[in-house]
Amino acid sequence: MKFSRRIIGLASAVGVACAVTAGTASAQEDKITVRSIPIGNLKVLDPIWTTAYITRNHAYMVWDTLFATDADGAIQPQMVDSWETSDDGLTWTFTLRDGLKWHDGAPVTAEDCVASIKRWGARDGMGQTLMDFTDSVEAVDDKTFKLVLNEPVGFVLDAFGKIDSNVPFMMPKRIAETDPNEQIEEIIGSGPFRFVADEWVPGSEVVYEKFEDYVPRDEPPSLAAGGKVVHIDRVESVYMPDAGVAMAALGSGEVDLHESPPTELLPMVEGNPDVTLAPNDPLGYQLFMVINHLNPPFDNKAARQALQWGTKQSDYMATIVGNPDRWQECGAMYGCGTSSESHAGEEPVLTLDVERAKTLLEEAGYDGSPIILMDPADNSTLHPAALVAAQSLRRIGLTVEVQAMDWSTLTQRRASKASVGEGGWNVFVTNSTIAGISNPLIHSFAKNCDKAWYGWPCEEKVPDLIRNWALESNSDTRAELVDQIQELNYQNVTYIPLGQYRPVVAYRKEIQDVIPSPSLFYWGLKKSTD
């Protein structure tokens, strides 16, 4: 009997423990809490160290920006109150708004901003380009700082107000002085929410609370610009590894909002009267195929053109998105619906011509050796895309070896310039927000050859054209330059766009006024508590 008595003892001990703690249950009822499912697992908290979108989204809660992009794509001041440019266009003077405070209570100073700009300028692609044209950034007084350029470039505000990673978020000087290659330790910003460090469970839950001392602008919110008025007290962002369970949790009301419900699972909530589906980003994403220009057969332009003629965007879109209301074929390198949208040279990108592709392959002297296609099998969007790619490559007569790996391994292997036999690769499919590729300067393939993004395409004339674009401020001339850049890229088959799709955000009926944006913002939105 000894044995069973012990068990009973244990069980009653648990019972007592339960009764005691039940009495002290903490009351959060008077607070308005939004429980939401983020776009992914937040692993890194430093938005300058990583370009991961999940970190960018987190950063918009905690930190604020000097300028911000509004819903029309225009750049509006955010932390900046006023600014002026000298007649030669070289000296920019910025003055900060009144009442800006860090979460630890200290006032935001021009010194803080200068340090933040420097750290961002050391890591971000557009930031690095801006720094190339910059002679100095200096604080003038507590609230004013000065940027002195060596050439009058036209993209200063575009850089400060960019919405894609890395966004130049303003941090306190002591934090911004962290080595750009190391992560910051302290999560203190001047944004509308505070990061609650002791409630963070990495890999599971991130908690933010309203920053009471935040002073919003007077303008209505518009994308990342305008007044960031917060109507809720607390955001609990819960990452769930199982997409089906996450959707079920939204359906049953265990969470209020799902930032990126997978399109193929939307039928689970589409008939549910308590759940609203809304497009969250008017531009959406571009899916694209990255080609390694170093390894045969795709070191040969004709073979790359064969790939171009051999792909059909609708194959990809129908498989990874499904619902035709949520995707479109788009031949524009910088995205459809952006100011850099161009249709120059798009025919081969949009047309499927299997015979032509086969002829081109023959011309390129393809010897039947297997094409290494990397498949990020843990990624719910890119894994199906890789399967479609395998099928379309086989269709034009290529031998394909699909190498499955997790996304993290792919991010390592894609950096390899080795030949196929030594761990190298030929193609993979990935995606980007349109906001992140919406002009020649911030596009993944803005640089050339060795300096280029993975795949290392070489088109000698492109860098000069991009430089001209950056220096140009006349929009007609810019459009002509974009046409030329795009045409060159398509002739050379730098990479292949595979279609544009718009994800949605899903939320319970208690939630209203969600700002449509590629990064979900928790200001502006309301939650009714009845």
């Binding site: 089906g244 699972l265 498989t319 099998a377 199906p384 395998a390 190498q403 499955a404 790996m405």
Partner: protein, 295 residues
């Protein structure tokens, strides 16, 4: 998954069965027959399956996603419109191969290591510490960690599961060897000058056959389950290969929209594991009547 752990303590060394006896036993032990029958049916299906299945297991059909079971797709289709029947049949080959190869490999390697361990004190001290170390890490975690080292392939899955299952076989064989070594007839054999390997072949090996066979069936069943768990966690067979685990892993998100993607392969897997376990139980009762009344 852990049934086989029961065996090692109870497995007593004994002399081999006579052939006539086995057939008489077979009739008496219906579990072996039932288990074997179900298993044969599944094996047969996976072998002739490719001729039964009209669809290719890999071809994607975006217009026919998550179709419910129908005359055209008797198991329905998955989230990419691939035919689930063809995939399940194809997956059976992978999963059964993993089970079989792990069962055999773990037994053979385990036998070797167990014998070494039973005979050499130094080797025993080292080997047993290593085995204790391996056993102290939860099975699934050790297997995923091993999978993380190697590039995902069917071979590495087999390798990882074999390593994880190995300690139990080694301990089993070692205990048999140690028991027998103490027994008088071996002492007698050694004294009479019979060489080591003769003792091995005449006395040790026959005594390990029975418990090892039982153990191997349990390992086979465990391997099929572990493969499915590894694939489910994203650390198993490469995803483009439709093992049962992968089919279910890909179907996990859709359990509410298309429950058949996970339930059908899941049930087939469970029936297979059940059949193998039944065979194991039956074999143990048959080969070791002393235990027949017990478990």
């Amino acid at each position: 998954m852990a049934v086989h752990e029961i065996v090692e303590d109870d497995a007593a060394p004994r002399q081999g069965q006579s052939r006539r006896g086995i057939w008489r036993q077979l009739r008496r032990h219906t579990t072996v027959v039932v288990g074997a029958a179900i298993l044969s049916l599944i094996v047969l299906l996976t072998l002739i399956g490719p001729w039964l299945a009209v669809h290719d297991p890999l071809t994607i059909d975006p217009l026919n996603r998550m179709a419910a079971p129908s005359a055209q797709h008797i198991f329905g289709t998955d989230a990419f419109g691939r035919d689930l029947f063809s995939r399940t049949i194809h997956g059976g080959r992978i999963s059964l191969t993993v089970g079989l190869v792990v069962g055999v490999a773990a037994s053979v390697i385990g036998l070797g290591l167990g014998l070494i361990s039973g005979y050499s004190r130094i080797a025993d001290a080292i080997l047993m510490r290593v085995m204790d170390g391996l056993m102290s890490i939860p099975t699934i975690l050790l297997a995923i960690a091993l999978m993380a080292v190697t590039r995902a392939s069917v071979y590495t899955v087999i390798f990882a599961i074999t390593i994880v299952e190995l300690p139990r076989v080694v301990r089993l064989v070692r205990s048999v060897v140690l028991t027998i070594r103490e027994q008088a007839f071996i002492e007698a054999a050694t004294i009479s000058g019979t060489r080591f390997w003769k003792v091995l072949i005449r006395h040790i090996l026959p005594n390990t056959v029975a418990p090892m066979t039982v153990q191997a069936t349990y390992i086979c069943a465990a391997a099929i389950l572990i493969e499915s768990l590894l694939s489910f966690l994203g650390a198993g067979t490469p995803p483009e290969i439709p093992s049962w685990g992968n089919i279910m892993a890909e179907g996990r998100s859709y359990f509410q929209l298309a429950p058949w993607i996970i339930l059908i392969p899941g049930t087939v897997l469970a029936v297979t594991v059940l059949a193998i376990n039944l065979m194991g139980d039956g074999l143990r009762d048959m080969l070791d009547p002393r235990l027949a009344n017990q478990v």
